[in-house]
């Protein structure tokens, strides 16, 4: 995390950082829009936690970290789809996720360089994204965005009407599964950039703000991506200038964007509920 590099922002390694951040932001913003729409914030929290353990396992096995992330994110997505959404399951699911975090910490402890690896996986290490990782991320991003484009209308319909006659029950479950898989893909490419704990901020903060500011879905989607991009690039730039971690800026900027969205939309005070 030595940031005494004196050169300009457009050094090759910085280009990788800009590109990685861009990919994460575009996919994050797009997927995040649907996460907020479908009210699946919990899944957006849960899957990265599970992926953390996979990344730890991959690091230990000296395997490409994307493989570990992807495998565990996939299993997590399938698990959530299978369990369904029942209040009685929530505590059990939360416990399993905490276990995944503990498992990840254990596995990282088996390797060397524990402290910096924990840090990188939890809070992101955008400068550590290699060229091959970038290509793989771009490919995954393409696949995720293509899937979203394909499912655009069904997803909107499903969210707008809780029981639509146009979606058969089997179709609904397939849609749910497909979306969770997209979420798993997004997780895989976002976690190396912003970390498991901050992926939620990048995905959901700008998307929630966009949803408050724009009525039309297409406009809100575009705004969500734009805001996410602003957050991600802003974070990289600030991190470069001050030498402070990218994760800090992602968390702070996402919160600011969300707050600004609420204030602008006239919901300045956070809701009070009993």
């Amino acid at each position: 995390m030595d940031r005494r590099a004196p050169a300009l922002m457009l050094q090759p390694f910085m280009l990788h950082a800009w590109e990685a951040a861009a990919i994460a932001a575009v996919v994050g913003g797009a997927v995040g829009f649907f996460v907020v729409l479908r009210g699946q914030a919990f899944a957006a929290h849960a899957i990265p936690n599970g992926a953390f353990a996979g990344a730890a396992a991959a690091t230990l096995a000296s395997v490409n970290v994307l493989l570990g992330l992807g495998a565990f994110a996939l299993v997590g997505a399938l698990g959530i789809a299978a369990l369904g959404r029942r209040a009685s399951r929530d505590v059990a699911t939360a416990l399993v996720l905490v276990l995944m975090l503990a498992l990840g910490a254990l596995l990282l402890g088996f390797g060397s360089d524990y402290a910096s690896q924990v840090y990188a996986l939890l809070f992101g290490e955008v400068l550590g994204v290699s060229g091959t990782q970038l290509v793989a991320s771009a490919a995954l991003a393409g696949a995720a965005l293509a899937t979203l484009a394909l499912l655009y209308r069904p997803l909107l319909l499903c969210a707008a009407l809780s029981e639509s006659s146009q979606l058969r029950p089997g179709g609904r479950r397939a849609l749910e599964l497909a979306f969770l898989l997209v979420l798993a893909m997004a997780t895989t490419m976002t976690v190396p950039v912003v970390g498991a704990t901050l992926m939620f901020s990048l995905m959901v903060g700008p998307a929630a703000a966009a949803r408050l500011l724009a009525r039309q879905p297409s406009v809100a989607l575009g705004l969500s991506v734009a805001l996410a991009l602003a957050v991600a690039w802003g974070a990289v730039a600030l991190a470069y200038l001050t030498g402070w971690p990218v994760g800090f800026y992602v968390g702070t900027l996402a919160a600011c964007v969300y707050l600004a969205g609420r204030v602008r939309a006239g919901e300045g005070r956070l809701p009070r509920l009993r």
Partner: protein, 293 residues
């Protein structure tokens, strides 16, 4: 004779004579008891996510403490209490546990923790800050941190004991409680303060990110198994202390285990045990319910 040999196998050499282990056992028990007791109310009030959020936000407090040179305990306590107060002012959601607003605040808290940990590792040369704050390091808790921790644990328990009955009533129904003359808002504030203390104690035991497991796990298991409040609290406390002590024992024994021969983390064992107990407890509850039919 056979029992002595078995004991020797289970308890690795030096377990009972090591002062570090004794401190860990005391601290672990204190954290476990407080978390179990407070956790029963947390689960009943459906506020598991608030407890989770307090732990995660608390990570910034622990990191800050490292930076300033204080023991992490004080950082956890300060930030948890402040966050609990903020939650009370803003209004904690009861039923909808996963809210975007809480999640975004959580993220900002983590971001702050990231910054503070970075600064701690570069300026204050606290290289183990991340591990200690996020995943706990109970064996390195200094002897002088133990008395204040125990005092805080005692305060949290005294607080719960004082408002025991109004707390149960307002957890069941705020309207019923208000009709009986209970100051529901005040009780809620005192309860959140107890949660903050419980989470802080769990954070120094098994880390800020994992603290939720100790708060919610044993309580959820007990709720599935027992019916009355007294019995539920008893089972929760027993399970929590068992998980904490067994976790410490296993971590101590694992010192010579592969792969690196410097021990597996306590937090992993404790969380694994809590989750196993929960699974076992729910299976048992399901089995006895099926038998009764």
């Amino acid at each position: 004779m056979a029992m002595v040999m078995a004991a020797g196998a289970i308890f690795a050499r030096g377990f009972f004579s090591s002062p570090i282990v004794q401190h860990a056992l005391e601290l672990g028990a204190a954290a476990a008891i407080v978390c179990a007791v407070v956790g029963c109310f947390t689960v009943s009030r459906g506020q598991s996510f608030a407890g989770h959020a307090l732990g995660d936000i608390g990570s910034s407090g622990g990191s800050g403490a490292y930076l300033v040179g204080l023991a992490p305990l004080w950082g956890f306590v300060a930030i948890s209490l402040a966050a609990a107060a903020a939650m009370e002012l803003i209004g904690v959601q009861r039923a909808r546990a996963r809210d975007v607003a809480t999640g975004v605040v959580l993220g900002a808290g983590f971001g702050l923790a990231a910054l503070l940990l970075y600064l701690a590792s570069t300026t204050a040369s606290a290289t183990n800050a991340a591990q200690t704050v996020l995943f706990g390091s109970i064996f390195t808790v200094g002897g002088d941190e133990l008395p204040p921790s125990l005092a805080l644990a005692g305060s949290a328990l005294a607080l719960i004991a004082a408002v025991y009955r109004p707390l149960w009533l307002s957890s069941l129904s705020p309207d019923l409680a208000a009709a009986r003359g209970v100051r529901v808002r005040l009780i809620g504030v005192l309860y959140l303060a107890a949660v903050a203390l419980a989470v802080a104690l769990a954070a120094i035991t098994i880390g800020a990110i994992l603290a939720t497991a100790l708060l919610v796990g044993p309580a959820a298991t007990a709720t599935a198994l027992a019916r009355g409040p007294g019995r539920t609290l008893g089972i929760a406390v027993a399970l929590a202390v068992l998980a904490a002590w067994l976790g410490i024992l296993l971590a101590y024994d694992s010192y010579y285990w592969p792969p690196l021969h410097h021990g597996w983390p306590v937090s992993f064992f404790v969380v694994a045990l809590v989750v196993s107990f929960n699974l076992g407890g729910r299976l048992l509850a399901g089995w006895t319910a099926a038998r009764r039919r």
